[in-house]
């Protein structure tokens, strides 16, 4: 690796069910300008842009980076578009960091967005295609059986998913950018209707409009700010959706992705050496599943960490301090929001949801049928 990479600017929009007040260029511009200002830069200073978003069909614009180039001041510059399903926000940040680490560019602006209100996500995700059986209702129909498998395998307490929802929504109350601001008790969460048994309505993520941006720079440029977040490890891993003997609850690709970033960052005991983690939890039950997959808990014991309250802000291992995907889900941006929150924590700029003294944080995203993973470790220390 030729260069070290640091996050010196972070920006995001207020996330809402529908940002009808801004156009698509306007939406990404808000996040990009905020990130540049944070980094004490303007568009002129940017060497290259890396943009990520989920399927183009959400907005009905093919390769929207072409149309969005002007809003990002990209004329005369390289602009690059990543698409790796739900993990795209994470893998986009990884690609951006690699441009810096490889010494190709010094200052890279990376942006991820989704304006889901431009269409209907259910339509865009599952159009009726000939020869394909139309059997299932959205992502929940795919993930609910996995969650049932987890509950059975781990013999997990049935309230675990609800506990995560209460905790993440409480965290989201502290985050003015979050889409959902819900002050919910465990009773209220449990009383919500079952959609895809065992997933309740209250245990699902919303669908949001929003954008997030980061400025990534090399060591020399990192002097621009007093509190850079140093990228200590990045990784992506993929496995196939279906194969014989596939462990869908605790996928090997996720384990390897985590091990890879820990190895690069010199982390041998994640729950001790990592101060907080922002992980991709679109259905609340994924918190205990990923706690195990990421090595924060022994296999089969993730749910206990959650039930014991260890993943709350102020506890041993805070998870999803921003409120996470459970409060905010502009799909293409969701992964990068996780990465950005990890960076905010180690920069000490997470305001109301700051973990005291956070030095090392994990950002994590996944996509597809729990098969595409991306992660990074950021640290306040070079």
């Amino acid at each position: 690796m030729a260069e070290q990479c640091a996050v010196v600017g972070i920006g995001q929009t207020k996330h809402r069910e529908s940002r009808r007040d801004v156009s698509m260029p306007g939406l990404i511009r808000i996040a990009a300008l905020e990130a540049l200002e944070d980094a004490d830069m303007t568009f002129k200073d940017v060497d290259a842009i890396v943009i990520g978003t989920a399927p183009d069909m959400f907005e009905g614009i093919m390769m929207p980076e072409l149309f969005l180039a002007d809003a990002l001041g990209a004329a005369g510059k390289p602009i690059f578009r990543v698409h790796t399903a739900g993990s795209v926000g994470g893998s986009t940040a990884v690609v951006a960091s690699h441009l810096v680490q490889a010494g190709v560019h010094e200052k890279v602006l990376t942006v991820a967005f989704e304006k889901q209100s431009e269409s209907n996500a259910m339509w865009a995700l599952s159009p009726a295609i000939p020869f394909q059986p139309q059997l299932v209702a959205g992502a929940g129909g795919y993930f609910a059986p996995l969650i049932r498998s987890y509950i059975r395998r781990a013999d997990a307490h049935p309230d675990t998913g609800c506990m995560v929802a209460v905790k993440d929504r409480a965290h989201g109350m502290l985050n003015p950018h979050a889409h959902l601001h819900l002050d919910q008790s465990l009773e209220e969460v449990k009383a919500a209707p079952m959609l895809w048994d065992p997933i309740r309505y209250s245990e699902t993520c919303p669908s949001s409009d929003g954008a997030v941006a980061m400025v990534l720079v090399n060591q020399q440029q990192a002097k621009r700010v007093k509190n850079p977040a140093w990228v200590k490890g990045t990784s992506v891993r993929t496995e196939r959706t279906f194969f014989a003997g596939r462990d869908q609850v605790n996928p090997r690709a996720g384990q390897q992705c985590a091990k890879d970033v820990y190895d690069q960052a010199g982390i041998t005991n994640p729950p001790v050496e990592i101060d907080c983690a922002e992980i991709y939890v679109p259905f609340s039950w994924f918190e205990p599943m990923w706690l195990e997959n990421l090595g924060f808990a022994e296999e089969g014991l993730g749910w206990k960490m959650t039930m014991e309250g260890k993943t709350k802000l102020g506890a041993d291992m805070p998870i999803n301090m921003s409120g996470g995907v459970m409060c905010t889900n502009p799909i293409g941006a969701s992964g990068m929001l996780r990465f950005a929150e990890a960076a905010r924590q180690v920069r000490g700029t997470a305001d109301q949801h700051q973990v005291d003294g956070a030095k090392v944080a994990l950002g994590h995203a996944f996509g597809g049928g729990s098969q595409f993973f991306a992660a990074w470790i950021v640290s306040s220390e070079r």
């Binding site: 498998s149 059975r152 279906f242």
Partner: protein
């Protein structure tokens, strides 16, 4: 027959209205689809223009072209239009302040339902098709929405690949076809372009049974468009006998609260004459009544 006498009477007459220089100019502009306001002595703008302002001062006679867009200052919903109303469907009367003016115009808003009306909402004029220099040259106002319809319509063909075609052809004959790469020995349903462990195509086709084990499932309780069964119903992963990985299908023929992991199930086929190249030839899987498979026997498929 009533004790009271009554007879219809119509008072009807078409007057001749002199418009004067200010109103006349305004109405003449409407004919051409142009909306104008007049400057007042103290620098304000009035639309519709008046000859004299509220302080009794004569307006200046200077006309300003305006965009036919404004803000609703007040409104009322008319659920049953009366004779003489500009619209024959429910609408709103509203006071509309045209952008750049200091007064408001009375007009109607075509908004379909009262829920779409709000004080402060933005509206634009819809011009009448035939204009003759009256205020009705503006047919009505309509809500300005901060978004546009963006229709996309593209016609595609779908052509399944050779492996999936083999699977579909099997279904047409009431068979479930899997594929195997001898190097890995695992049977995939449907057959795959590449075995995940070897990278070779699963080109040796084998027929697997239409019975198997339900490994895991969800009960779908939300209604959505295009649904085949009425919620609640079950959707689950089935490892067919002879296959090494699950397929997904509906589970029925049993009360949903009696569905268990490990349950033995069998395909319920449509009548043979309805078979097509579709997995939907199987309506759903239903219990066989055999004893459940032990957890250990299917744990690796979870």
């Amino acid at each position: 027959m009533s004790d009271f006498l009554s007879a219809p009477y119509v008072l009807q007459y078409t007057y001749t209205r002199s418009t004067g220089p200010v109103i006349g100019r305004f109405l003449e502009s409407l004919r051409y689809g142009v909306l104008e306001g007049v400057r007042t002595a103290d620098g304000g703008v009035l639309c519709p223009p008046l000859e004299y302002d509220e302080k009794g001062e004569a307006t200046t006679g200077e006309f300003i072209q305006l965009r036919p867009v404004g803000t609703v200052k007040s409104w009322t919903w008319v659920p049953e239009p009366r004779k003489g109303h500009p619209l024959d469907r429910p609408f709103a009367f509203a006071l509309i302040q045209i952008d750049g003016t200091d007064n408001a115009m009375v007009h109607v808003v075509d908004a379909e339902k009262p829920k779409r009306m709000k004080t402060g909402m933005r509206v634009r004029a819809r011009w009448a098709e035939e204009r003759n220099g009256t205020i009705r040259d503006i047919a009505c106002f309509e809500p300005v929405l901060p978004y546009l319809p963006g229709p996309v319509h593209l016609d595609y063909d779908v052509r399944p690949g050779q492996h999936y075609t083999a699977f579909l052809r099997g279904l047409q004959e009431g068979k479930l076809i899997g594929g195997c790469d001898s190097q890995s020995g695992k049977v995939y349903v449907p057959p795959r372009a590449a075995d995940p462990f070897t990278g070779n195509p699963t080109s040796e086709y084998v027929e697997v049974a239409d019975t198997g084990v339900l490994t895991t499932f969800t009960i779908i309780r939300i209604p959505f468009e295009g649904q085949k069964l009425k919620p609640p119903y079950c959707f689950g992963a089935i490892v067919l006998d002879g296959a090494d990985m699950p397929i997904y299908h509906l589970i029925s023929g049993v009360p949903y609260d009696q569905i268990r992991m490990g349950m033995r199930v069998k395909a319920k086929w449509k009548p043979r004459e309805e078979w097509e190249t579709s997995l939907e030839n199987i309506l759903y899987f239903e219990p066989t009544g055999e004893p459940d498979a032990p957890f250990e026997s299917y744990e690796e498929h979870l």
